[in-house]
Every structure is written in C-alpha cells, then in structure tokens.
Amino acid sequence: MSEPKVALKINGIEKSFFGIPVLHGINLSLNEGEVLGLVGENGAGKSTLMNVIGGVHLKDAGTIEVFGNPYEPVSPKSAMNEGIAFIHQELNLFSNLTVAENMFLENFPTGIGKVIDYKKINQKAQETITQYNLPVKPTTVVGTVSTGICQMIEIAKSQMGNARIMIFDEPTTSLSHSEKEKLFQTIRELQKKRISIIYISHILEDVFKLCDSIAVLRDGRIVYDDKAENITQEKLITHMVGREIGQLYPLSDKSVGDEVLLAANNIISEKVKNISIALHQSEILGMYGLIGSGRTEFVRTVYGLDSMSSGEIMVRGEKITNLSPETCIQHGIAFVTEDRHGAGLLLSKPVADNLSLVKLRNILKRFKVVDRKKETETVKDLISKLNIKVTDPKAQTADSLSGGNQQKIVFGKWIAVEPDIFILDEPTRGVDVGAKFEIYSIIMKMAEQGASILMISSEMEELMGICDRILVIKDGAISGELKKKDFSQEAVIKLAL
C-alpha cells in the first residue's frame, strides 16, 4: 500500500498579537481522506491557528503546503481558492435569503444585464439538495429551517465549491441528537470521497467516535499528535490541561432538604404544555431534553422573560406577583442563561461592570448613587472567590477572557447577591475541561450552602455526575423523572426521544 498523500502540511507556524506569542511553531499534517481531531482548552490557540489557515490572520513565520504546493493565505478568499472550507459554530448563511441564493451567493450566474438567472440556480440547488437528501426546497428561506439543516446546507455549499479540505469548528454545539447523528454520517461520507477533515470540538466522545488521529493544542503548542486508537480519554484530558485530573465531578455528602424553595405550578406558555416542578433546598435538579423540547422556554417563562398563559411561581410558599426578572431577583432567583454572549455578559464592558451589575441595587447610597467602595470590594471578593483570571478588572473587558472565565463572571454577578435559587441553562457550554470542573464545584458549593439549583444541560454525563434528580422534557411536557439510583444514559435517552 502506497503512502497516503498529504493534503495539508503546516510547518513552524508562529503568530503573536501585540508582542504576545499565541502560536509557538505549530507543526501539523493532515492526510488525504483523514479526519483529524483538534482538541485543546479555550485559549489554547485553536481559533488562531484556524484563522491563520483561513487567511483571517497573517502568520508571522512558518510555511503551509496544500497537496504539496506552497500556500500563502492573505484573505479568506485565498482559502476558498485552495479548496479549504470552514464550517463554524456560528453559521455563515444569510437567514433572509433562500437556500439557492445562499448556495450561489459568491458566484451568481447572471444573464443579460447582470440579472440573476433564478431558473438556473434553483435547478442546480435542487440537484445538490437531492444529493444530500435535505428536507428543503431551493426557494425555502434559510431563516425558517433548523440549525442542523442550515449546517447541512453549508456543507453542501462547500462541496459545490469543490472543497478538498474541510474544517469543522465546534459544529455540534447547537444541534439536536438526531441532527448530530446525521452530521457524523455526512462527515463519514465526505471522508469516503477522500475529503480531508479537521474536526475541532470540546466533546471528546465525539472526537473519539469520528477521528482517525487526534492532535492536542496547549498554550500555542502541539503537545500530542497520534492515532486515535493509541490514547484513552483520560490521557487526552491530561494532555489538554497539562495536569492529571483525578475526577470529573466534585464529590459531596450534602443531603437534599425537605423545604420546597421554588415551585412552578402548571406552567403553560407558547411552547410549554403544563409543567410543574418542585425544587427543594440543597437540591440539584437536572433537566434534560432535546433541542426544541421546550426546556429553555420553560425556564425563561419561570423567570418572567417569556409571557405565561397560565400557571404560578411560588418561592418558599409565597406567590410571585408581577412576574419579571426584577421581581425574581427580589425573591432570590438567579438565572444563568444558555447564551453567554447574547444574554449573559456586557462583552465590551470591563469585568468589574459585569460583576457588579446585579449587585448595584444593594449597594446604593442616598439618591441611588452607587457606593464605589462597596462595589470595588464586591468585585475583588468575587474574583478571588471564583478564581477568575483577570489582572485589571476595571480595564479588561469581558470578551478578553477565555470561555471558562467568562462563565465564572456570569456566575459571579449572581453570587454577589447571594440568591438561594439558581436556574442554570447549559452552564458549561463552550467551557473547557479544566474550567468545567471548577464550575461544577461552584454549583456543588452553592447547593451545600443551602441553595437550590435547576440545571438544564444537553450533556447527559454532567447531569448524571452532579444532579440529585433528573427531569426529562419532551414536547413541552415532563416525560419522566429519574432518581439518582436510576440514572443511566439509556433511561434518559428513552424518555427524551
């Protein structure tokens, strides 16, 4: 058997931003038809490396070869010309245009007077749609189809552009279970067509499932690069964080109290069909459900963000009237949203402003003037309590920190007001392995101190790891409840599907 052709070869890539080296001489090689998993903590340099390959950032040193030919990326267009395509976690389709328009956006076939030849693009788009078996029409507006389908459209589009190398950056973050399966199937089909793939993900199970070889990036260096069958998941994590991680979930001997802190009774809203829950003191209640099951809509309704058609929210037996985020906070409820960037943080504002945002109401002097001294103390206290890695909280903006530290800020702004009920929606999404453990520890500690926690997650393992009880949501209703002793992946999935 002959040596496989090398599709992409990276030699000694270096990149610094403002004198701070981010990539220290990266060497990496990707064979034709190979799936290479690229893993690493947030801030390890994965995005920077991909941006160098994609022509978004210019490299400082090193060479790149594509199928043996030198490749000097200067703009995203260079990558496209070389047949390198990116599938990002944020999709790059225009939601106001049709499927066909999106597919031909860069290169519309035009007729007389530069008029777009719609007959032609719709016909060609239909061919691709049929080939990939997508449940859309060429004239479907992209904004009306699900994220998973959008991703398929992007993949199909990249194949129309004859991409030879495809880079998937966290492609599964917003996919449902079945969409994920379909994506994996598509990736395997691409592989059969000798397409070379780099697959970046935090979800190590997926990486092991898909990839032929795995490379680990840590602090701008490749610290491991070998065939996937030569390494175990535990070893991989050790390489990623650079130290041994003894356990994945913190242990605790806390016991669940009898008092019901939060009760939601017969909640009905647009996507929620009659859900009732009772959350006890010191309890961590997990909530699992596929995307679109109504779990996020349920907690948003409980928190007063979405309107409720009927039902009531009781805190320690007292009904909340005028349900709104403001009244919820007054009753000691905190809400960590699933979308950290969109709803959790003031990204472009300093860390300090973010940490004190909720606390402001409690540190006012006369005329509602904010007590700066107390504010500074609060911020300092939170940073040390949560071990947030920031040097100057008044100058460094939230978006300059890594995903894990950003999530700690979101937790911090709530912990500042010492709520006793936490609603957490995907609290570890986009957070790397090391920081995940820290976040679990924060959650566990809050529960030990008597707080009740309602936690939504798509990661079954973490729910089974830290929850006392799991509710499974399906089609806007509770389809089952599992006690700790009955926890198993099969049981959860069975209830969810």
């Binding site: 931003f17 403002f18 701070i20 981010v22 801030g43 340099g45 920077t48 950032h57 701008g220 928190y303 963000l305 709104s324 985020p325 403001e326 919820c328 906070i329 809400f335 949203t337 969109g342 709803a343 959790g344 943080l345 003031l346 990204l347 472009s348 504002k349 402003d353 945002l357 909720v358 402001l360 109401r361 006012l364 005329f367 509602k368 003037v369 904010v370 460094q396 903006t397 978006d399 300059s400 920190l401 890594s402 702004k413």
Partner: protein, 334 residues
C-alpha cells in the same frame, strides 16, 4: 513611564477630542484676530450654553443606542407656549406669576413629548429614529401653527425683563452659563454615579443581558426619552430668554450642531460608550469652531460643511477605536 503611557492611552480611547480641543484653542489664541478678548471669550461660553443643555439630554438617548430628533421641536414648542403665557395671556401683567407659569408650561411640554417618545419606543417597540422623526414633525408643525394662530406672525415679542435675565442680557451674561453648567453637572452625576446611569450603559451595550440582570429596560428607556425632552425644554427656556422672543423657527437649524456635540465628543452612536464629559468637550469644540470661523468671517455654509466633516471624522475615529479594542481582545484571549 508606563503609567503615563497608560493614562495617555486612556485619554485617547475615552476622550480623543480633548487633545484636539486644547491644541485648537491654543492655536486660536495666536492665530485668530480678536479671539483672546474678554468679550469674545464671554461670547464663546454663551455659544456653548446654547447647545450644551440639550446635547447633555440627548447624550442619554445616544448612549442607549437611539436618537431623538424631536429635541428641536420640543424647545420650539416650549418657546412659543412659554412666550404666549408671558406676553399675551391674561396673566401677562403679573410677571411674578407668569414667569413661573411659563417655565412650568415649557417643562411640561418637555415632559409630555418625552412620554410620547418613551411610550412609542419602549412600549410600541418603534425604532427611536422613526418615532422621534414623527413627533418632531408633529410638534414643530404644531409650534408654527400655534404661533400663526395666536399672533399672525412667526414670533412673539414682549417678554418680561426679569425673564430675559435668564438669557444673559448685559451684565447678567453669567446666568445662562452657570445654568447650563449646572444642568451639565447634574447629567454628569446622574450618568456617572447613579444606578440609573449604569443601567443606561448596560442597556446600550446589551439590552438582553440588562433585562436578565434585573434592569427594568422599559422604565429606563422611558426615563431616557423624558430626560432628553426635559433638557431640550430647559434649553428652550434659555434660548427664548436670549432671543427675548418666542420664535417658531427657533429649532430649525439646530439639530446638526446638537448631535455634532454628542458625536464629535466621542459618544458612540451604537450605544454604550461615551458620556457627559465627552459631550461637554464636544460642545466646547463645536462652539470654538463656530466662534473662530465667525471671527475669520467665513461664510455660514462653510460652517455646515466643517461640522459635517467633523461628524464623519469622529465616527471614523470611533470605529477605529472599536477595532483596536477588538484586536486587543484576540491578543488577550490567547
């Protein structure tokens, strides 16, 4: 050394207009004839007071990511109604009664227009530029109609002497300067020191995050629109006193210099960055430019052109600052 550098960088990012303002002022002292005279400096400060109050109010709206086109209509309508009360109503011969009544009425006009704008933006979710364009048209039209109906002319004269003091006639020139400085100080404290001010910034950056964090976004938005209109009305009081008349065309060409103060000062039009300090520097700078070009006997149209170019430059500078921050982010994230 590093500390000085850091401080200089802060000034450049936060108030890039400040060094320009200082340099321009120094240059004017040496280059522009009759600039460095007591009379002219007094004039300069009066010119600042002509826009500063309304610009401070508008700053809240711009910080919130919105715009308020109706400020000129507010000050005009207030001017006509106030002047009517003082010069034509049955109580016109009792200045002790008519002046406070007129001032209250003018503030009332501000309050009502602010509430209308606030309702449209916060409750009906109308974009502020549409809502305030509409209210601007309605209320400036109303001002002209009202004035014509009442007097048959386009202005109302015969205001009481005590009221005109507010405009700074003769030896009282410090009155409007002090009043506008007080308004500016009030806005500064409100924005920089209070919970409300923090909430204005938070909504300007990310209103979803603000709402989740317990900020009553609707209430704050209404308050912002009301503040803008009230300060426009206060400016209307000062200008009416200065013109010694209620003029139905008072606000006609004012919007450009007002928004110029806010934007040239460095408050970002996309919301969340900037503040009253910036607007103060902006107002000083715009007044300085108008003043010096006047002294150099440059035509009014050139003035407009210069203001246009300045707004463009300031916006470009804002984009550049934003970009440099973004780059920093990538560097810091790794």
């Amino acid at each position: 050394m590093n500390k000085i550098k850091e401080k200089a960088r802060r000034i450049l990012v936060d108030t890039p207009i400040l060094p320009v303002l200082i340099l321009y002022f120094i240059a004017s002292v040496f280059v522009v004839p009759n600039f460095a005279t007591v009379y002219n400096i007094k004039n300069l400060f009066l010119q600042v007071s002509d826009v500063l109050v309304v610009a401070c109010g508008l700053t809240f709206v711009v910080l919130n990511g919105g715009i308020d086109f109706s400020v000129t209509a507010t000050l005009t309508l207030g001017s006509i109604i106030g002047s009517y009360i003082m010069a034509m109503s049955p109580i016109k011969h009792m200045p002790g009664l008519s002046i406070p009544a007129a001032i209250l009425a003018m503030l009332g006009v501000g309050l009502i227009i602010g509430l209308v704008n606030g309702f449209a933006v916060a409750r009906l979710k109308m974009p502020s530029f549409i809502a305030t364009t509409a209210t601007n048209l309605c209320f400036s039209g109303l001002a002209v109609l009202l004035c014509m109906q009442l007097t048959g002319k386009s202005s109302i004269y015969g205001l009481p002497k005590a009221f005109i003091i507010l405009g700074g006639s003769g030896k009282y020139f410090v009155v409007p300067i002090i009043l506008s400085a007080l308004c500016c100080l009030f806005c500064y404290l409100l924005l920089a020191k209070t919970k409300f001010g923090r909430e204005v910034y938070a909504i300007g950056v990310n209103n979803v995050c603000a709402e989740v964090s317990g900020v009553n976004v609707k209430k704050v938005t209404v308050l912002i629109m009301v503040l803008s209109s009230i300060f426009a009305a206060i400016e209307g009081i000062l200008l009416t006193a200065r013109n010694e008349a209620g003029v139905s065309s008072l606000g006609d060409k004012m919007f450009t210099p007002i928004i110029a103060c806010v934007i040239v000062g460095g408050t970002s039009t996309s919301g969340g960055f900037g503040g009253i300090r910036q607007t103060l520097y902006g107002a000083l700078f715009i007044a300085l430019i108008n003043n010096t070009l006047n002294l150099l006997q440059v035509e009014w149209n050139w003035l407009m052109l210069v203001q246009g170019v300045l707004i463009l430059l300031a916006t470009l500078a804002g984009i550049a600052v934003k970009k440099s921050r973004k780059l920093n982010v990538i560097g810091g994230g790794a």
